[in-house]
Amino acid sequence: MPRTRLEAFEIDHLQVLDEEGRIDEALDPGLPDERLVELYRAMVLAREADQRMLRLQRQGRLGTFSPSTGQEAASCGPTLAMTGQDWFVPAFRELGGMLMRGVPFHRVLLFWGGWEEGNVFPGLERTLPIAVIVASQIPHAAGIGYAQKLRGEKAATVCWFGDGATSEGDFHEGVNFAAVWRSPVVFICQNNQWAISTPLDRQTASATIAQKAIAYGIPGIVVDGNDPLGMYAATHEALERARRGDGPTLIEARTYRLMMHTTADDPSKYRKDDEVEQWRRRDPLVRMRRLLESRDLWDDERQQRLDAEVKKAIDDEVRIYETFDRGRPDVYFEHVYGTPHPEIERQRQEFLAGLQREARDA
């Protein structure tokens, strides 16, 4: 009996806008000018906000955080394709996307500054806070998608995570559930080549992360993750598929973490500067600006105006962060349960009495 081939697979790679800012006309998603400018502005804001956080951290005004410089396209491009009805499920390196969703920057600062208020986004729906536990948000996205489907919503969920996350059970289990349930979810792996000190080839023996989708019976695609239009186009297509009821997609965004893993990390211990330099030349902001310039949508003067605007917006938010009312020491007792319990209340009174005594003794 001859062997027969049951399955074979192929994985596509998508790039719409190259490093020089040249667009592939056949693949151009045809965004109107103002949307292109919006995308560029969002990436500039993300970059500047990230760099400001680095300075604040160095000055002791912020805690440890995970910079996203270099990865702006992989969160801003997809976010541009989303509507307010879609759920935004981040990991911890999606600053650009979070700001686009309307999370005020001071909330991001509060989170990394050690205040729970950084998880509270007043008036903003369908936007989850940062997930620190790697991959833990992936099954949530599968469940959110299921709920959207059950409730008959014509909307979907976009969920981000890193290359390291694809080693966790939560990745495999979450993607599998979403695939079996045909949950309307777009899974975006920000493959930034490193998980702290672990390079991709020590994380997985697969040639691509996208091909893991094949095993779960869903489409997977590799996208140039520093190409904001490629990321937009791939997410747009995956969202359409999800909303149509055709289930989830896995997008591998090939990008690079230009900074340290977190501000507590020293990348010189495990990677070479020339690798970083090579990726610097593939900066998503540079190619987007080149495209805008080639379409007469951008020039130095507009850039200067934007820089000033962004600086002012960031200054304002830093001020809100630093003057934020941190007055309620017992806030932790308020949200233990949705219903009050006498033991928690008793502990709260004891806690407050203790604080008063401390103040008196001091």
Binding site: G113, G114, I133, G169, A195, I196, V331, F333, Q347, F351
Partner: protein
């Protein structure tokens, strides 16, 4: 004797264990080339190579699961969980297999492994990086939970844990990693697992703690001793499970009073078990109710407010005084 931080002392124990016994291997995330996010595994990868110092993919359940397999097959793995807050992903493997193999095979299959993990607050760390959840592992039959309080006992206990025939969860109080130095003997040294240590003798009251809480506890004890001339006995548990009831009971039989200081949330914590032991075996010797000082039963606060919630020297001092005055 060289003076070392806890990080250096743990590192010394790892180097010596790997030198003494070729079956000892280390595995975990970023422990090799990067030498651990706290540099606890410094020098191991360079000295023992990538086959014995294994940088794993990012999966806690598989780190422990493969360590169990290695242990069953004759190795002595020392696995690292990067932070205790991510160790819950290994709980199924730990409860379901590491703690059970000996019992269910009547000793034919055993799992001699160590899982190291930094735990606890006080370093202005992120969410999931500051919790004290030793009780989760202490509650499991067959599980040993060891928590050192200083460089010297950290080294000696880790050396013992690696030689132990059973799974040991070794929780490292990260706020003590570099906070102070102690003399640590260069030669191999162990301490018995399962035994508490009376670190200061006294007759009026027994104060019991472990891990990072030992330092504020000793400060409070010194204050009270100085202010009131009280004679205070201090016990460092060192092993949470199996708990050394004998040492606790002998002390309380002598002093008649006790305070237990725990960093973890109050309810169902190790302090509750310590108090239950005292009730079981020394109730008639008590002259005052046993007090516990603990975090409230709330989510471990983000670092902006954490100082307010962790037990500090003042709260410990007050508990000791009130128990003495009862």
């Amino acid at each position: 004797m060289p003076r070392m931080t806890m990080v250096q002392a743990i590192n010394l124990a790892l180097h010596q264990a790997m030198e003494r016994d070729p079956s000892v291997v280390a595995l975990g995330q970023d422990i090799g080339v990067n030498e651990g996010v706290f540099r606890v595994t410094a020098g191991l990868h360079a000295k023992f190579g990538p086959e014995r110092v294994i940088d794993t993919p990012l999966a806690e359940a598989a780190i422990l699961g493969t360590a169990i397999g290695m242990a069953i097959a004759g190795l002595r793995p020392v696995a690292e969980m990067q932070f205790s807050g991510f160790s819950y992903l290994m709980l199924g493997q730990y409860e379901g297999h590491a703690t059970r193999y000996r019992s269910r095979t009547h000793g034919q299959v055993t799992v001699p492994l160590v899982v190291r993990m930094p735990y606890g607050g006080g370093v202005r760390a992120l969410e999931h990086h500051s919790e004290s959840r030793e009780v989760l592992y202490a509650h499991l039959p067959g599980s040993k939970v060891v928590i050192p309080s200083g460089p010297r006992n950290a080294r000696a206990l880790l050396a013992a844990a690696i030689e132990d025939p059973d799974p040991v969860v070794f929780m490292e109080p990260k706020q003590s990693y570099r906070a102070f130095r102690e003399e640590v003997p260069a030669e191999h040294e162990t301490m018995p697992i399962g035994r508490a240590q009376v670190v200061q003798q006294g007759t009026d009251i027994t104060v019991i703690s472990w891990g990072a809480m030992m330092r504020p506890t000793l400060r409070a004890v010194a204050e009270v001793a100085e202010a009131r001339g009280a004679s205070i006995e201090v016990i460092d548990l060192l092993t949470i499970a199996p708990l050394d009831g004998d040492t606790i009971v002998a002390s309380v039989e002598k002093t008649g009073r006790a305070v237990v200081v725990q960093e973890a949330p109050r309810s169902f914590g190790p302090a509750a078990e310590v108090i239950a032991r005292i009730n079981d075996r020394a109730l008639m010797h008590l002259e005052a109710p046993v007090r516990r000082v603990a975090m409230p039963d709330v989510m471990t606060p983000y670092f902006g407010r954490e100082r307010l919630y962790f037990p500090g020297p003042h709260t410990v001092q007050r508990a000791i005084e009130e128990t003495l005055d009862f």
